[in-house]
């Protein structure tokens, strides 16, 4: 690789990185569309600078400093027009953005059709600006673009705190006494500058992609800005470098599309595998959550089956199944709680030797995974006869789950005034979301202190699927 090629590569990587940096601010401030306007408006600027160059200094027409200057000027005017049009009532918001965009493009097209007819007008250098041609850049061009981009990046890093503040919370920034209008202008100006500087590399139609895509991709990796910015900068840098290399190898591939497609590839990867919001991550965590819930359901239903069956066995009069609905509603809260676990003394070996009965509500396709999961977590075991049994650990867990459910149910009935039947069903839905902290809160709220025990179910339980228990 020649010195020049290396220089061009490093220049494009620096530009890509700075695009990634500005993109974070741009997406945070929801000004993506502004960058669209900025980059498109550069077209007449370029053409105008070329024509002016032909007139004033024919030998320098079409060189980069002229074109960059022209496009900066035109982009600035377009942004001002945008902001001015926002003030006209029916055109506020996005409606105002399309107008300078269309108008400036048209102006550019007219200028270009003039350039094509000017005898001395060699528009070859301009073609690169349309679709990007990094390889055509000379080393002085790269130094110019890279130097300017470097200045913007340094300013951005120096004012990091202030810029982030106005991007996140303008009102607070105003209250802090920051010169918000000035910072706004500075940020917009720097965005415009980076847009324009990246033009020769990706072409004016695709600059938006290099600004937006890495920043959006970074969003899938982290919610924290401290991480989002480096990720975005890195993705921008790598896409720019990779795209330049590819288009250098393949003759017919312009740099712009190559870079953009690289960026999109990284974006797609981030959407899939990003460990903050990626699709795969979300799918996986949802799956884990579902397994957790199914295990909870299994443990609870098993516990309740045994509870109902043994209660009947030991003292038929105490069986919750026989305390009717009527009776339940008339009992006071204290009375309901006073019967804390009447059969708490029953030997735990008893439970542990009962065969686990998988409730029918669990779909068969989840069942084998659920069994595997339960065994892995040490909640269930298979005994020598091939029967499913609870383990000690499983039993402790089941108690906690049942307690959680009943506390929530009680809370819903006592404090949210749910009818008892509905309380049970709603608690089914909500219980999985309760953390240990919330369970403690509930205990305090319901004034229950019973150590490790489990409270009685607020609604009658029936042993439906389980057979007669023989001790």
């Amino acid at each position: 690789m020649s010195y020049n090629a290396l220089l061009v590569l490093s220049g494009t990587m620096l530009l890509g990185a700075s695009c990634g940096l500005m993109g974070v601010f741009l997406t945070l401030r929801r000004q993506v569309l502004l960058s669209d306007v900025i980059s498109h408006a550069a077209l007449p600027g370029v053409a105008m600078a070329f024509l002016l160059g032909l007139w004033l200094a024919p030998e320098k027409a079409g060189t980069l400093p002229w074109l960059v200057g022209g496009s900066m000027f035109a982009s600035g005017v377009a942004v001002l027009i945008c902001f001015a049009l926002q003030q006209v009532k029916p055109l506020w918001g996005e409606a105002a953005f399309g107008i300078p965009l269309g108008g400036f493009l048209a102006l550019g097209v007219v200028f270009f059709s003039i350039i094509q007819q000017v005898p001395s007008g060699n528009a070859a250098g301009l073609e690169g600006l349309l679709f990007g041609r990094a390889a055509a850049l000379s080393s002085t061009d790269v130094l110019l673009l890279g130097g300017l981009a470097g200045i913007v990046v340094i300013v951005c890093l120096l004012l990091r705190k202030e810029l982030l503040l106005i991007a996140f919370d303008r009102e607070f920034a105003i209250a802090q006494g920051l010169p918000v209008a000035l910072l706004d202008m500075l940020l917009t100006g720097m965005t415009a500058a980076i847009c324009v500087l990246a033009l020769p590399m990706v072409g004016f139609l695709l600059v938006v992609a290099l600004m937006v895509t890495p920043a959006a991709a970074a969003r899938f990796w982290s919610d924290r800005l401290g991480l989002m910015i480096p990720v975005s900068v890195m993705l921008g840098m790598v896409s720019a470098g990779l795209g330049t290399l590819i288009s250098g190898q393949l003759e017919y591939v312009p740099t712009g599309p190559a870079i953009v497609l690289c960026a999109t590839m990284f974006f797609a990867i981030s959407v899939c595998f990003g460990w903050s919001h990626g699709v795969v991550y979300q799918w996986w965590s949802r799956r884990l959550l579902k397994q957790e819930q199914l295990l909870d359901d299994l443990l609870r239903s098993t516990y309740e089956e045994f509870e109902a069956a043994t209660a009947k066995l030991h003292s038929p009069t105490m069986a919750p199944a026989e305390t009717g609905q009527q009776d339940l509603n008339q009992q006071s809260l204290d009375k309901r709680l006073s019967g804390v676990h009447p059969w708490a003394g029953a030997p735990e070996e008893f439970w542990l030797h009962q065969e686990v009965c998988f409730p029918k509500s669990i779909p068969t396709k989840d069942l084998s995974l659920l069994k595997q999961n339960a065994v892995n977590r040490g909640c269930l075991r298979i005994d020598s006869a091939g029967q499913w049994r609870m383990t000690e650990l499983g039993w402790q867990k089941a108690k906690a789950v049942v307690l959680r459910h009943r506390l929530l149910e009680l809370y819903l009935i006592e404090h949210a005034e749910f009818p008892p039947a509905q309380g049970d069903r709603t608690a089914d839905l909500l219980e999985h979301a309760l953390g240990p902290h919330t369970v403690d809160e509930l205990k305090i709220l319901l004034r229950i202190d019973f150590g490790q025990g489990v409270i009685r179910s607020p609604h009658p339980l029936e042993a439906t699927s389980i057979r007669e228990v023989s001790p």
Binding site: V88, I99, L105, L107, A216
Partner: protein, 458 residues
């Protein structure tokens, strides 16, 4: 004068091709006005930009397919439009799916999807460059001059005219079929949802219409410039009217006008204009570019002249208000002089009013002309004399002034030096009802805090 003859000379070479170009451009411009009106009202003007980029791969593939057909066949038109519709749907669906992730905003999703599709299109174009005769710059910026030469085999009817006509008819058909849905969903999404019009369906319909329109237009104005025709005429029409059907008609009219004027100016104006500053050899500039520029000119005029939003009309309103204030000041001064039993010559009066109100002399002069014309005062023997109408007007202003001073003194407890200036400003904005209320609230005073009489209402 020389310029004018040159322009006329350029126009005298008008031929059949020019006519076809204007017809084609006009059809495209009118077709654009229909989806464009909805885009402007829904504040989605950049959706058009997005779809216009995204349509590129569709166009390229469709072009590739239609290359397999015999040249000049009508089917190529159908394939092109279908390709556009497919890419429009693809872009809309992708954007919607990305938004469903909830991690990125709508505009970011738009930016990512359209640039990617555009990059794919460019890449296809370059890779297949030797198989299809499509110039990227031509697709992006349009080339009416070339498009008009491609005709149906054996006729002089350009293919592009038929494409544009089909687009226009398609747009009109969709507009009449789904008028209610489009309109309701545009103005009140919540209500639309409640009566069963799904916002996402309407959005998809609009995206497809935009995509089809863009492809119908890409030979004429190019896939990017079409954005200008989609947005600028409807925005202009919106500035001029509230009524939706007239907005669509008006924007179609503006589109038509821009097409005709755009071509006329492109072939006649720019060349001679540039020649006059010493740049020779420019014959005609891009018609599509000029067309959008003419539309932009219309928008600029609307921004200046629109009855409600125009800068000039607002200026006029301001001037009318200032004039009213000057007239009222003059009447009040005359009333006070009459009250004091004094008479002042016109010259002294002007300087008196200028001194006490700060009004410039020309405005006082204009106000006095106006008052005489309206019969509020008359000119007699070097003096201005109030007529009964004028006396009534002056009395009301003075009454407002003194009531307000009383109010400031009694209710707000302002110091005496704060009374006069404040009341001089407020007197022009106190209506007769307000005077009545003020008077009642202050227990119908007949003297202001400085002891001057508060005149009765009439």
């Amino acid at each position: 004068m020389e310029l004018l003859t040159q322009i006329l000379q350029a126009l005298s070479t008008w031929c059949l091709i020019d006519t076809w170009m204007v017809v084609m451009a006009a059809l495209v411009a009118m077709a654009c006005a229909i989806p464009g009106s909805f885009l402007v009202l829904r504040r989605q003007s950049l959706l058009a930009d997005g779809v216009s980029h995204a349509a590129l791969p569709g166009v390229v593939v469709a072009f590739l397919l239609s290359g397999l057909l015999p040249a000049g066949s009508g089917w190529s038109v159908v394939i092109l439009l279908a390709g556009a519709a497919v890419s429009g749907i693809l872009a809309s669906v992708l954007i919607e799916q990305l938004q469903k992730l909830r991690t990125i905003h709508a505009d970011t999703a738009l930016g990512i999807v359209f640039t990617t599709l555009f990059a794919v299109g460019l890449l296809l174009l370059r890779t297949l460059a030797d198989r299809i005769h499509l110039d990227p710059a031509c697709i992006v910026f349009g080339n009416l001059e070339v498009a008009v030469v491609e005709t149906f085999a054996g006729t002089s009817l350009p293919i592009g005219v038929v494409v544009a006509l089909v687009t226009l008819v398609l747009n009109l058909t969709c507009l009449s079929l789904f008028y209610k849905e489009l309109l309701i969903s545009t103005f009140d999404t919540v209500f639309a949802e409640s009566i069963g019009i799904a916002a996402s369906r309407v959005q998809l319909l609009l995206a497809v219409l935009v995509a089809v329109t863009i492809v119908g237009a890409f030979q004429t104005v190019g896939s990017l410039l079409v954005l200008g025709m989609l947005v600028i005429p409807p925005a202009t029409a919106r500035l001029l009217t509230y009524h939706f059907p007239s907005m669509i008609l008006l924007s179609m009219g503006i589109g038509l006008f821009s097409a005709v004027m755009g071509h006329v100016l492109a072939i006649s104006l720019v060349g001679p204009l540039l020649a006059s500053i010493g740049v020779d050899g420019i014959e005609a500039v891009s018609t599509s570019g000029m067309m959008v520029l003419v539309a932009s000119g219309c928008l600029l005029l609307a921004l200046l002249l629109s009855p409600e939003y125009g800068a000039l009309s607002r200026l006029g309103q301001q001037m009318r208000t200032q004039m009213r204030i000057a007239e009222e000041d003059l009447l009040a001064v005359l009333y006070r002089l009459e009250e004091a039993g004094r008479q002042v010559s016109t010259k002294d009066l002007a300087s008196l009013v200028a001194e006490s109100t700060g009004q410039p002399a020309w405005r006082i002069w204009a106000a006095s002309r106006q008052l005489i014309r309206r019969g509020a005062m008359s000119y007699e023997d070097q003096h201005y004399v109030l007529t009964e109408i004028g006396r009534q007007g002056g009395r009301q202003i003075v009454r407002a002034h003194r009531l307000w001073e009383t109010f400031l003194a009694q209710r707000l407890g302002l110091r005496p030096e704060q009374w006069h200036d404040n009341a001089s400003r407020a007197e022009h904005y106190i209506s007769s009802e307000l005077r009545h209320e003020l008077s009642n609230d202050l227990m119908r005073p007949d003297q202001d805090p400085q002891g001057r009489q508060i005149p009765p209402e009439s």
